[in-house]
Symmetry: C2
Subunit: 311 residues, 2 copies
């Protein structure tokens, strides 16, 4: 069995918490390191095992991620699979040196978004992926690569599915351990998500496909349901729906972790997550990020009471 298949078992649904990275991308206030550690520990206790913990980026521009080496150590001790993003050579090398379980990289589905977002071509992004795979030490971190704008692009418009699958092929050839398909601006609908999930999984064999959805246009959970039905076994979410995207102004962020876990529960799909405990972790965010809106319907209304009330 490949290491990726051990870390992302095919017989259950893995929900990854991306709030500590994707969720903190654009916020004004963020939790300090102690609060982030508390967040990881408590959400781990609620059953979540995979966390994006930050980015290896210049701390001068992204001070919210300056503590990523500390969090990597915490994750390693707690038995958390910690994922750190890296967007350039320096970041990839720093990430490969850190005790992280996975280094995350990004490639845009469209040339226009690649240049606007990362000031480089898709070919250059692919070169960085190849470098990461080559320089990764034996038993080193997994290399996971997310394809942003995979379901449509706010700059280039519609994105042909064949184009995304071509990028998947290039990533598989490069030897990556996981491929993410990201609906960065919420352009996808359930039929498109199901179709691309199915085709990417067929292409990828036992390399896990992770579906990363934003709730920008309200279809986040509908798309998640479609992905699960199409066989996706890894999905991203963020506690309280933290996050957003500079290319989708005014938008809500990542699909809400709590609602995602509830969706899986209604389908009888095992995630190992305790819904009430997960909802409880929101306290940490409410305290550490007082100005931030926490999304999420399940936390507001509570899980269903499926036992009859006493007569």
């Amino acid at each position: 069995m490949s290491r990726a298949a051990e870390i992302y078992p095919a017989d259950r649904l893995t929900l990854r918490e991306v709030g500590l990275r994707d969720g903190l991308q654009m916020v004004k206030t963020w939790p300090d390191t102690a609060a982030k550690e508390d967040w990881i520990r408590r959400e781990h206790a609620a059953g979540v095992r995979h966390f994006e913990i930050g980015s290896f980026l210049p701390a001068t521009r992204f001070p919210q991620f300056a503590d990523v080496p500390d969090l990597a150590r915490v994750a390693a001790v707690e038995g958390v699979h910690g994922i750190a993003l890296a967007l350039n050579e320096r970041g990839v090398r720093d990430a490969l040196d850190a005790p992280v379980g996975e280094v995350g990289l990004v490639i845009s589905a469209t040339e226009a978004h690649s240049r606007a977002n990362q000031n480089r071509s898709r070919a250059e992004a692919l070169d960085l992926v190849r470098m990461a795979v080559e320089e990764r030490p034996e038993r080193g971190p997994l290399i996971g690569v997310g394809i942003s704008m995979a379901f449509g692009c706010s700059i280039s418009g519609a994105v042909p599915q064949a184009e995304v699958l071509k990028i998947c092929e290039a990533l598989l050839e490069a030897g990556v351990d996981l491929i993410g398909l990201a609906d960065t601006v919420g352009y996808g609908g359930p039929d498109a998500v199901a179709a691309l999930t199915r085709d990417a999984r067929a292409l990828a064999g036992d390399v896990p496909i992770c579906i990363h959805l934003h709730d920008t246009r309200g279809l986040g959970l509908a798309n998640a349901a479609a992905a699960m039905d199409a066989g996706a076994r890894v999905l991203d979410g963020a506690l309280g729906g933290l996050g957003g995207c500079p290319f989708a102004p005014g938008a809500t962020g990542n699909v809400v972790m709590e609602d995602l876990a509830f969706l899986a529960a209604t389908k009888g799909v095992e995630t190992g997550i305790d819904l009430d405990a997960l909802i409880g972790v929101r306290e940490i965010l409410a305290t550490a990020m007082p100005g931030e809106t926490l999304h999420g319907a399940l936390a507001r209304a509570g899980p269903p009471k499926l036992e009859a009330a006493p007569a």
Copy 2:
């Protein structure tokens, strides 16, 4: 072809606006009659053809619905299919005398909710349905009956699907023209919604099945997608997600009409609705109900731009 099949054509998706009734059930301020007329006219111009326009209830207790006879006349002139709710004999007779296209009645899936919500048994609710069908004049309004708590009950807990189907059978025997399946408190998940939609449609033949979803626990649109995939051709929604339920405190309301129409568009399902025009109708609510939260992701983020931006 039955009259119901003319009014709810099987070859397209009918989205019914229930904001003027279900959406105003629990609000503190509501639009005056002129604003409601404007709402109906503008949403009709955006492509919506079916509207719940109010309830025939005592105006002393429900002043927000006192203008239902006026709105029935407006609907009749505009070519709108106007639906008015009635919950007792008096209301049914008033509704049958008004120029409405449909009289809506309600029966609870569970005995406990029937007594708590309407202070009567399910058998008594069924008697009222029979009375409405018998007293309905030739070419009079359709008789539609919604089954509340059809996907789970906040009092009785889980609701067996067989129980709901038994009520469907009794309603079909009574001769109703449409059956609604309501997830009153957002207990349903997509798999349950798909299964019950499929079974109810098989039972009902050409009697339309309407799926009425609340977004209480975040799964409204996921459930709507599942219903559409299971062949539902009538769904309810409310502009801005107005509404709520006394049995689901703190909850968001009906599934958002704009997001529902967007969902259908992503599936290539014809609804006849212009998304931008529909979003524009929210202005009326923002002005007429200044204290009320308007939900809806599509209105916040805007429909996708599927043409490429100029280079």
